[in-house]
Symmetry: C2
């Protein structure tokens, strides 16, 4: 019910979506859900690493020293502190990440990527990148690629103005 009623003229009333807006919204919503779902499934079934965990490993691997404060890591992964804390515990059990007290701030913890973690990431990256190419870039024209970037950046500025 992003509804089929006519636009509400009264100020303060809900600004309903017209038929074209609804089609755009539905296509965007279902398209991205389906894509994200598919990528997550392919990665998980091939490597045992969910996309959320993959993202954590990626962020660590791209940082000099392969270490980040827990909250910095949470921010970069669009994750809550609590969720990240749980996830790092599980990655620790697998031997891919190690916790370490932060030298500069005794309150803080560093999550450090281990060599095993880096190796696991490297293996997973092949699978994941291939999926992204198959299901996204192979489907889109250069103009479409430019526009998803443009829209993505627009939404980021609005929703996550660092």
């Amino acid at each position: 019910m992003t509804s089929s009623r006519s636009p509400d003229p009264s100020p303060g009333g809900t600004r309903w979506l017209d038929a074209e807006e609804q089609k755009a919204w539905r296509a965007y919503l279902f398209g991205s859900q389906l894509l994200l779902d598919r990528l997550d499934r392919e990665l998980t079934s091939a490597t045992g690493i969910s996309h959320a965990y993959y993202e954590i490993l990626v962020q660590l691997s791209e940082t000099p020293g392969r270490a980040l404060r827990m909250s910095e890591l949470a921010d970069r992964c669009l994750s809550s502190r609590s969720r990240l804390s749980h996830a790092v515990s599980r990655l620790e059990e697998r031997g891919w990440v190690r916790r370490q007290v932060c030298p500069e701030d005794g309150r803080g913890q560093l999550a450090v990527l281990t060599d095993e973690g880096f190796a696991a990431l490297e293996a997973a990256a092949h699978v994941h990148v291939e999926s992204v190419r198959t299901h996204l870039f192979d489907q889109l024209s250069p103009e479409q690629v430019a526009s998803i970037r443009d829209v993505g950046e627009t939404l980021l500025r609005h929703l996550d103005p660092r």
Copy 2:
């Protein structure tokens, strides 16, 4: 690690993303995650209905008779059968949906939207549509709206060719 190495020339090797592709992919990924997250939070905190439940109610409300077979409903909501079955049970507890044996096929069940369910949906729709407008349509130009529809439909054709 959608990585910074150079494109792999060997056939059969992973077709890595170049820098531009990575930026597009990251922007798309983070932008849609942030948007979907935000919409879900606003809807849930204002109405107690998660976006997943909202989708179920919408699909039922848009069907003549406000009733659908469980598997048809699952497909339309991009949900697994099991997940939908659990969700419908919870919606039943709230009195918003009712199960009914399917007349034509004794194996089947119909999920039927109750009047209370329809009323709850109507209330939630105001909140949700306002969020979608604020965080999506108010941010995008008409060209950008056209392109999210175009990309969405392209991905749908590839990932969900009914």
